[in-house]
Amino acid sequence: MNFIYLVPLLPLLGFLINGLFRKSLSKSLSGIIGSGTILASFIISLAVFFQVKAGATAVISYFDFINVGSVHINFAFQVDQLSSLFLLIITGIGFLIHVYSTSYMHEEDSKDFAKYFAYLNLFVFSMLLLVLGANYVIMFIGWEGVGLCSYLLIGYWFKNDNYNSAAKKAFVMNRIGDLGFLLAVFWILKRLGTSDYHEVFANVSKLSAKDIGGITLLLFVGATGKSAQIPLYTWLPDAMAGPTPVSALIHAATMVTAGVYMIVRSNVLFSLAPCTMELIAVIGLITLLLAGSIALFQNDIKKVLAYSTVSQLGYMFLALGVGAYSTGVFHVMTHAFFKALLFLGAGSVIHAMGGEQDITKMGGLRKKIPVTYFTFLLGTLAIAGFPFTSGFISKDEILMNVYAHNKLYFYLAFAGALMTAFYMFRLLILTFFGSFRGTHEQEHHLHESPKAMTIPLIILAILSVAGGWIQLPPMFGGHPNFSNFLEPVVKTVEHTEASVTAMEWPLFIATIIGLALIWFFTNKNYNVDKFDGEYTGFKKVLANKWYVDEIYDAIIVKPIQAIGKFFNDVVEKNIIDGFVNGVGKAVNYGSRQIRLLQSGQVGAYVLLMVIGMLVLFIIQLFFK
């Protein structure tokens, strides 16, 4: 526990070394430094986790961060069940992705290779700071840091303008959310004089209902930006411009779960604000359905997975909105496993196809890249909710908790689950089944990925399948080990036990039947030789993402640009520049007039002397 400061410190050191010495480090060395620091952090996190499991939590304060008047903010880490769990997820999956990246990015030259690992380490550092912080301010430092690293990594191949725009879009949308978060923190500081979790949650009774409503709403706005909920989700699909391991780490396993972490951490506040909770549940539900519907007809491997991420995040927020906080965290964990697996698998496919990402050009890869295929299959089964995979257990738990809250939400969420199965099976079949639809050179180039890429895939596949077995549903004789572990920190909103488990068996049966039907249907439609990927009618609307980007462009971007143009042309050029230039012109004019005094005429000088004397006399006589 005393070495907890090493957990974020080591990645920071990795960032500094790889960043400062990137021109002189070899590729293998920067890869070892980058991955080694994360491995060390993981080992320490593991030790801490077992200490916490035995019951030892702590808040360790290092130094005074801000000490102004009555505001005291310490740089302190809070090690408890929730943060130690997240530490494991971040460092564990982070390490696997670092190892994967050493092979995936091997075509870059060593300077850019080291830059990549520096950014990745900086990201892990920020994320660790976020989950370890003992007050909202330290969390916000990490919060902003991950947003920054997201920008840096999405725009990694900075020579491409489109990628830069995607990076800017991600950062700006994150920032909008950050504003909400910051306002909430200010509000808390104003009302309670502290931002430490322990003190805030102990003094919650000092806040009025309006305070709690406002604070939770603003915190949720922050979560919307970071975790890609409606309306701030459009950056995530565009963020696929970055390298695939980046998409796996940041946009599947860690950064986007920061919003979930923050809400779970503040569960005391949120449980007292039922209106906000309802809003969270509704937005989670709409996001889930909207993103799922868009994913049905996307033709780019990574875009399907991106929309899938947005949709799964909707599930997590739905769980949070009905009060099932530990279930939300459980889904975070299982989602991290199978989504990272799916993204890394997609990277392996892209690597085998020599850079091609369009699934209409793939097909029949099952025999050519078997390890990738098999792990991808396991990941697909997990996300679709095949019985006893981790995804099945966590998703069913969410659905059962939703049922106890509102039956309509339950049916809609179940429909969303069927959509998930549909688009994932479609992706799997179009990519790996049927016959190859690409070019001849691509076909010759097809080969299985190297060990550094396949071993993380295998590890993640094992976790995707078995990771949920720590909390089997009660009907299969499982104990709520996970929820019990988080119990001291996360107080679930109680629904009656009976209604939570009422739909267990019907849900199970419906899932099996649904999956079987969908498999049959997608196999018939997509296990084909030719697939052009063109859509008409309503499918076209879905394939074009409901034109949301275009709507945002028309409603928000163009007016802001028009306002900016107005200010530039009218205010800046005429008024401000006019003022500054006018001063110059006035000085010029004045000096020209005064120069006329120097006529050289003696008479004029004498006249001026006389006038001066007269003025002095007058002042002397009349004003003294």
Binding site: R595, Q598, S599, G600, V602, G603, L607, V610
Partner: protein, 109 residues
């Protein structure tokens, strides 16, 4: 005689001198106007000295005769100034062959 008469006369002479300095183009005339101004001041000094010399209706010639002595100083200064000034005018004439003040615009710009 009222003192105001002398004051008005001196003021009138002084103003004429000032206007002459400002208006005339011939530098010698300007000099004469300067002399006129000096003499106006002299007049004032003497007038006031005489005013102070009358106490209780009687005339005491040495009571306040400082001003009358000062007048001689002014005249001496005027004479010295005239000599220097005329010397300058002679040099001016040698350079520009005229005594017109308007030709002295070498200080222009």
């Amino acid at each position: 005689m009222e003192i105001s008469n002398y004051i008005i006369l001196a003021t009138a002479l002084f103003s004429i001198g000032v206007i002459g300095v400002l208006t005339r183009r011939n530098s010698i005339i300007i000099f004469m106007c300067v002399e006129l101004m000096l003499n106006a001041a002299n007049l004032l000094l003497v007038a006031f000295s005489q005013m102070h010399n009358f106490k209780l209706g009687k005339y005491y010639p040495t009571l306040a005769s400082d001003a009358q002595v000062f007048v001689f100083f002014i005249m001496v200064v005027a004479a010295a100034e005239v000599s220097v000034g005329l010397a300058i005018i002679v040099m001016l004439y040698r350079n520009t062959h005229s005594v017109d003040v308007n030709f002295l615009n070498r200080l222009k710009n």
